[in-house]
Amino acid sequence: MVAFLALRSLRRSPTRTLLLLAGITLSGSLLFDMTMLGSGLVESFGGVLGRLGYEIRVVPRGTLPLSSALLVPNASGIVGEIAAHPDVAWASPMIATQLYAEAGGRRLSVVAYGIPSRLPGLVRTEADVRDGAVLNALLARELQVRPGERIRLGTRLSPQTLAPEAAVEVRVAGLGEFPFDLRGQRTLAVPLSVLEELLGTRDRASFLVVKIREGADPEAVREWVNHTFPELEALSIPALLQAVRGQLRYFDHFSVILSGVSLVVATLLVGTVLTLQIGERLGELAVLRALGLQRTRLVLLVLLEGFALAAASCPLALGIGLGLSEPLDAILRALPGVPQDLRFFVPSPQAALRTVVLLLGAGTLGAAYPAWVAGSLHLASTLHREVQG
């Protein structure tokens, strides 16, 4: 009965209810966007890491997890020991470094990855890295090369000729997309052996990657690596995400503050309109009490009205929030230093559910004061004042 009455009460002033719904919907859409932002960046980063094809990244202890310096000595020995662990499918050194690439007289600075052939996740391509270099589209365009052509790679430019020194020539195996590419970044991947030869640094790596066997626990392997090689630090995907989460805390703060503002706005909207409405309905509420409705039923009635308002605005709030997230995401992804595959606003059932729960809570909380007013009205004096006039 109370639910029936609550829904009907909201239809008594359709324009006012629609305006209120519009306000709650907009607050809800902002809330959804901020909820997506709060968790999206880390989720998106986790998704990128998950697609790379390995679960553990091993770096020298105390360095940044994404460092490109060649800091892991005796890489093959360590890799051999790690690979011998029963839970490890394979392990491999990786090199990430700056190089110069030259073709047709054009010389460009590039980010180069020396990768094991069994790590397809680092670059999305139909080409085989074992056949040569896989270039990102920007680099191929700027060097004006196509698959099958050859490019020269060097560690530095000669001060006299400005040509790459200590150069090796590699065939362009194909084009690919690199998930960690920054905007405007020129990138290529070559077999690990090519970079080892070019850099003349056998047995040194930027970091090591470890693939865990199906069903094995990455955390157990991570702890074993940390224990066995105290000079190294093994980072599983959750540990890496934790580190990233720490570095991106300002996004969390941003999201929490704006979420809070949108919740307060929704709460105040519901509270203000329902308080005004209850003021107009005191006589009606007193009559309901006189007819036999208990005080708690009136409180429940008003709380349900707030809840129903929030519930009615949820579908549109989620829709608008989803629509807004695209342009907002594009704006943030245009910031310098943001990997191309990263998304700031990632829609997920959890984010939607969190938004719905928070919005319903805000609607109900907004109705708390008018519900208290409705519940605490003095029956006889209200009847005297409102009904008898």
Partner: protein, 222 residues
């Protein structure tokens, strides 16, 4: 015969800015089943206050009110609400049918609260709307009804849970003479059909329909 309402030396004193204003001063009366009682008196004489005490809407400051054998100031709010829901029907001067509900839905409201089964609810709505001559108006909202129709609807709502007592506060106060007469006749019919009726009114014609007329002045029955 057991009284439905027993008011014994009831006082009701309001406190306004530290000043005590007695609305009722030691009023006593009884309402029995089959009674049709009119309470008349000038404005501010305490008529509505007395009606509120008799309906368990308000409690006496001193003295005692028994409703259906129970002393009201010893009952909880919930018990009083249940008593009003099941045993007492209210009719107000300004009708106060909920404007956003149809006439039928207004009648259903007390029945839903009393958890009357659906089939019984439908049967009672038909019966009550037929009783007050508003069957053809069942799907209309209060804004589409005349004053007389509104008050007949309010009487039907008061009867929804088959109360033993109907309390009406100036039920003809907002109606013209002819419509007021029709409402008076309706109360007489309700009374004839076995429901005790107490009407607070300024309307001498309505009061003349009652079996007993009590006059209240300055908070005292005379």
């Amino acid at each position: 015969m057991t009284a439905l309402v027993e008011v014994r030396e009831a006082w009701r004193v309001y406190r306004l800015n530290g000043v005590e204003i007695p609305a009722l001063r030691g009023v006593s009366l009884e309402v029995h089943p089959q009674d049709f009682l009119a309470i008349v008196g000038p404005s501010g004489s305490g008529k509505s206050t007395l009606l509120h005490l008799m309906g368990g809407v308000d409690l006496p400051t001193a003295g005692e009110v028994r409703l259906f054998g129970r002393i009201t100031h010893r009952m909880t709010e919930g018990e009083l609400a249940r008593l009003r829901l099941h045993r007492i029907g209210f009719v107000f001067q300004r009708f106060f049918l909920l404007p956003h509900l149809t006439l039928e839905e207004n009648l259903l409201l007390p029945m839903l609260e009393a958890r009357v089964p659906a089939g019984e609810r439908r049967r009672r709505v038909e019966e009550l709307l037929g009783y007050v001559g508003l069957l053809h108006r069942r799907h209309h909202r209060p804004g589409q009804l005349s004053g007389g129709e509104l008050q007949r609807g309010a009487v039907a709502r008061a009867l929804a849970n088959r109360p033993a007592l109907v309390l009406a506060d100036e039920p003809t106060g907002e109606l013209d003479e002819q419509t007021g007469r029709e409402i008076g006749e309706l109360f007489r019919r309700v009374h004839r059909d076995g429901v005790a009726v107490v009407v607070v009114t300024h309307n001498p014609e309505l009061a003349s329909l009652a079996q007993r007329v009590l006059t209240i002045r300055d908070g005292r029955l005379r």
